[in-house]
């Protein structure tokens, strides 16, 4: 009997008030659990928000007990929370168009075991990347999108991915999702934007970075909201450029950043390190 213990993560967000850590840690202890890592953050007194990530180990019986009693405690503190059994990998559906470096990077990290994740399918509005995806034995769905069929296409995506995924990743998916889709989809949607937001929102960021003459370019992984490129930021990375780099060189340099920033955001999602609140994130790293 090698691994009789469950590995559990609890994410929690509520108004700050004395006694929360004590209540939670006692409840874990009572359930015979052992805390491996606890990271907690309270904002400035003016905002007064409390955030916590607890990673603990507990046997199956203890976990059952905790899962039963915990919701009442949470209610007492009026907390939003999520409880994860880490042995159950999250399901990530990837949307992509034709640019393949982010997709490719995610599939490699998936196949190499770096990501503990299931990929039920990849969805694209083009057929181009089907062979690459199928090499990894991941189902590929082609859902074309044009000016006339956007809603229909989105409802196909919803049908395929809605119940069959925990979160979506837009790995350079060149279609803007409608507010209706974003609202209806039950999980988070993560996008990679090829600029250092809030600089160069919208299209052609590298061209515009080149024209502005910046000395650093960046990439930003963020949650998708109704407002284009305005969602909560999860991860940002930059690299140095100079006059020797034209807009195309910047694009190539940027690809490395996009891969790294998106991979980091996905990794934090898989390890349940992210709490979103308002237009910001707490990422417990």
């Amino acid at each position: 009997m090698k691994h009789p213990l469950k590995s559990i993560v609890l994410l929690l967000h509520c108004d700050d008030q004395p006694g929360i850590v004590s209540a939670i840690s006692r409840e874990i202890f009572t359930a015979t659990g052992n805390i491996l890592q606890l990271d907690q953050h309270t904002t400035d007194r003016s905002e007064g928000q409390f955030f916590m990530r607890v990673h603990f180990e507990v046997n199956a019986q203890g976990y059952e007990k905790f899962a039963e009693s915990w919701p009442m405690t949470a209610q007492k503190y009026n907390a939003r929370w999520q409880l994860y059994d880490m042995s159950i990998p999250l399901k990530m559906v990837i949307l992509v168009s034709k640019i393949d470096h982010c997709l490719f990077d995610l599939l490699y990290r998936y196949s190499s075991g770096e990501f503990n994740v299931e990929i039920p399918m990849v969805i694209s509005n083009h057929e181009d990347l089907r062979p690459m995806v199928e090499k990894y034995s991941v189902p590929f769905h082609f859902i074309p999108v044009n000016a006339d069929n956007k809603r229909e296409a989105e409802s196909q995506i919803m049908q395929l991915a809605g119940q069959n995924s925990d979160f979506l990743v837009l790995a350079r998916y060149m279609q803007i999702l409608t507010p209706e889709f974003i609202e209806k989809y039950p999980g988070e949607i993560i996008n990679i934007h090829h600029s250092f937001l809030p600089s160069f929102k919208g299209a052609y960021p590298y061209q515009r970075a080149y024209e502005r003459g910046v000395k650093l370019i960046g990439a930003t992984a963020h949650f998708v909201t109704e407002d284009l490129d305005e969602g909560p930021i999860i991860e940002q990375m930059v690299t140095r450029v100079s006059h020797r780099d034209n807009a195309n060189d910047m694009k190539i340099k940027g690809k490395n950043l996009e891969k790294l920033a998106l991979a980091s955001a996905v990794k934090c999602t898989l390890e349940r390190r992210i709490i979103r609140y308002g237009n910001r994130t707490v990422v417990f790293t």
Copy 2:
């Protein structure tokens, strides 16, 4: 007779055309000069711009000859150029308000010999930093500015610094210079902006960075133009922040960046590494 050779830097910008490097290097060779470093850049064919920095050594006689003959060669290529005898330090006048970290950093690098520069004076619209400046035996001029006397104050600055400086540095000077002043002042004016431009132009960048929830903050050294925070960028630096950093923590972290980015821009100026063109810079590092 220790250093009989002069150390010379030539900066040059013109339309691209064959033979420029050959013409210049021949002229240096003919003047018995020896090239220590030559860095040259040509933009995309569509733009077709040629930039060069040559650093060479030559004896006094050779230099005289070169300085005499060179302008005709330059005219042939319709080039903008600047020729510097590196033994003559540039004169930098610093403008500052009350925030002292950038001023302090510049003065330290000046006094420690890291910068080969003269500082004829520091000008401020407050008296606060007089003692710090006078400790370094640098003259301090107090020129108050308010809604009514701006033009008068600027003409005082012009009178003091106009002929007595090669460039100005706004080391957190909290007054916006008028377009008239910028146009009239004969040298470059360098500003340090406490954000990663073009993000968070204008006031309170750290507060706004905090509110936007970015994961990196930055600082930008740029040339001052009529359009606030839109001038050619010289140097940018960033550092990582997290949810644990409030707007004040960001401000403290940002100070390190501001010092480093401004120091780098000043160093590149002193070593004559910067060519400005349109709204961009070529920085030969």
Copy 3:
């Protein structure tokens, strides 16, 4: 009555065992304290070490109660711990020789309020930096060291600083402290080494980095131990160099790193974020 609450930090290290977080957080809650930040780390099961930093607020009465009861709890878990009232600044004594950039940077951060610290004195084996130190109204002690008087000099340092400091900082102090001094001095001793340890231990690291042709140089802040440059690392920083940088350019670039790495290590000390164990550190940032 503005700040009726005390701001308290508890650092703790013991063997891992269930219930510690619960016990501590209950004890804080019982004392009517409110946890602002709790960061906890448990090593791999094989090592089984538990580390925690708790920052909480509590009124004077509650703190008294906690300070009284807490040691018994700690004993139960066989824990090493330190309890700090954050309103009492730590006392830092700086040792320096002739190279001044680190000293200067620390004094500036102290005088500007960035560091919440007392500096009872600066000690040097040269007179050179006395004027700079006295500008900041910090007492300066000259204790010359040579081959014959090392022990005597150290005992003078001990007499001056032994009871009058919480920790020592070697801000480019070019004397090697004897194992006897290190053992006898009651607090930590922090050194800044001008290389990316464990590369280039010992003397002339920039020259050796130049000769090895590395593409990045670094600086390392570490605790001083008997074994030269082998103590627990607190902070490391690097910057890019190229063939254009000779050993002297590297030295100048390195100075920026040394200042930043040492400042970061001092800041973490002042905020009581560091737990040392074996030859490593846990730095709760």
Copy 4:
């Protein structure tokens, strides 16, 4: 007739002496060439070495002329040089064992057009990575190595790759090449070492970095020489780690660095930006 011009790179290294730039640029101009980029570096007077990379465009006839006359000029300056027609991609043979991330990254950059390179084959001492390689339509050769057949294996590698490659890349090839092989192979051999050299030379660098408690880990791409991990460094990259990262986490973080550092070294090779001299490199970026 779209691209009637050839794109040529000349790399050159000799003792410093006046007139070299002039001679070369005149010769290019005489051949009706146009210099796109010229980067030149002279070491300290004590070493007195001259390095240059010139990138120029010239028509076929002019190139013929230049290629004919140039060697005599070079001889005059006693220069080591290489002349490249950039339309002819270099041939890179990859050696790999079982760890696949670097191989995978190189193949992706090759297939996506980021690298202008030919890959005539991949050679491995294990069969594991054959399917991945053959997906890219690149020939795969299995050459097992053990204690007894090392020389024989190397002579097989030489037979396959000796005449059919411009350089070799050891993309985590876990066999040490003999000095005889290194000497006999006509091109450069590039290795990726998973530490920030000269720290942690040899085996298990991440484990040793973990044990030493460093705060940054790195990767180093270098030329292979007889002395293990002592060859000239081409590129180095680092990333931050903390107490939260165990040796395995470091390994995963390190993989990103290894890919980026190796990709950068390969890109510089393909763009003919590297001049090796003694135990160092000049990389014109």
